[in-house]
Amino acid sequence: MSQTTTEKKYETVIGLEVHLQLNTATKIFCGCANVFGRDPNSQTCPVCLGLPGTLPVLNKKALEHAIKVALALNCKVNPYIKFDRKNYFYPDIPKGYQISQFDLPIASDGYLMIPLADGAFKRIGIKRAHLEEDAGKLIHDAHATGSLVDYNRTGTPLIEIVTDPDLRSAQEAFDYLHILKLTLQYLNVSDCDMEKGSLRCDANISIREMGAPNLGTKAEVKNMNSFRAVKLALEFEENRHRTIVESGERIIQETRLWNEEKAMTFAMRSKEEAHDYRYFPEPDLVPFTVDQSVIDHVRQSLPELPQQKLKRLTDQYKISEYDAAVIIQDPDIANFFEECTKHYAETKKICNWINGALFQELNARKMTIKDLKITPQDLTTLIKKVEEGVLNNLTGKDTLKFMIDSGKSTEEIIQEKGLAQESDDSVLEKIVDEIIAANDKVVAQVKEGKDSAIGFLVGQAMRKCQGKGNPKKFGEIIRRRI
């Protein structure tokens, strides 16, 4: 059967689980610092090492962050929550259980809207979000006789965000993750860095015949270290499921690991211990009530979220949705843009400079806008100089480069580097005359009415003045002189 008919015949169903480390100063149940990259086992205490007789106490900030996330994901914040023990044995959990939330999580029944290719939006249900503690880090060394454990990460506050099985393709999963991450970054509750493991994603995927009421047997996919990997792994799984079903075989419910190098998923080697976690209420933590006043207070402190910002920027500044979408990828860039508009009314031109030259320079230096020494006003001054014809596009970009490196103003750079565009007509005419004298053939072509030949002469003139001329002006003079 061809791929297209198979695609029509089957529907892919995906649900995602995202674990997010919260950026509180301390761990969720003890006062150890919540930091990354320290010496192994240097950030632990009797509580997070799970020593007998110790008592966990909930970090208030972690709960506040969780409420923020809940509201941003349009969830219901549950007024009464409790913690539960999830029991299993693995060396990365020192207590033999993980403190998590089972039946009374902090948040449930939310949604996130994701943009579709046709410009419409699709609602992705958020089933629940709950607080829990992170496990330690296992260091597998292929040559070692044992495994090594670093418990620094143990007790890092996590919020797990679980979607409904609403995603229908790997692309939708990718888009959801993108919007989710952006939303979480705006909330400033996590650095959302997948490489550092502060944001992790597992996926459940199954296929079913189009229109079938029940879900197919699912596979759980883990070990994806980037959104791109999530997409590739899901595409791989989608095809694997189709092949199995098409050949009349049955899909086995199992956990599979994504192998980045081989670009394939493999069934986990370790024996699947039926997910029997024997949850029971954590006796060491009393329940919590979340009053409406607290929820209202957090709601008021919520920042403008990405999709709200997108709409406002397009409405308020009359910029294209595309430009706005690029700008909102980083709230600091969006702020920078908005500051620029206070000094210069040409919002479209500001967008072009930010999304073009400025991004290029930032990327080349691996810098973020926060590292930038130049101010929004510096940028608008530069743009104005280009618009006034003092600089052309090329020397304008050079000026930006120098400004970023030195932190000096546009005027200073122009002075220092002699970048100002030559505006003395007699100087420009002299250059044009030289070019005309040196290019008989091309001049003849111009006389025959070949317009593209003018472009060549302009290029020659620009080179002669080392880019400090105005191409438009050169064009005019050339026409006049020939």
Binding site: N41, N59, S147, D150, Y151, M268, R278, T289
Partner: protein, 94 residues
């Protein structure tokens, strides 16, 4: 009804090794405990709020303030085996 199989399964989840005699003993004991707790099922609890804690306490928080952690060597004191500042455990492979 608790069976020998249930007890062996729970024991394996808890990483406890039971001899056949122990397994038989715990099957009987657990059956008795469940029977006793089963009495609750006969009570009308429709008007009782579900509860997970007996303490009349709620909302016990901690402020997000860093306290000193244990020095690495102190943490590792309880390690059966250690290597390069890490706890060393029997090899786990995924």
């Amino acid at each position: 009804m608790i069976t020998d199989k249930d007890v062996k399964y729970i024991a394996s989840l808890a990483r406890i090794h039971l001899s056949d005699e122990e397994s038989a003993l715990f099957t009987k004991n657990l059956e008795g405990i469940l029977h006793y707790v089963g009495k609750l099922e006969k009570l009308d609890v429709s008007k009782v709020e579900p509860t997970s804690h007996v303490l009349p306490l709620k909302n016990v928080y901690r402020e997000d303030v860093v306290k000193p952690s244990l020095p690495q060597q102190a943490a590792l004191k309880i390690a059966v085996e250690k290597h390069n500042g890490a706890f060393k455990v029997p090899k786990v492979i995924e």
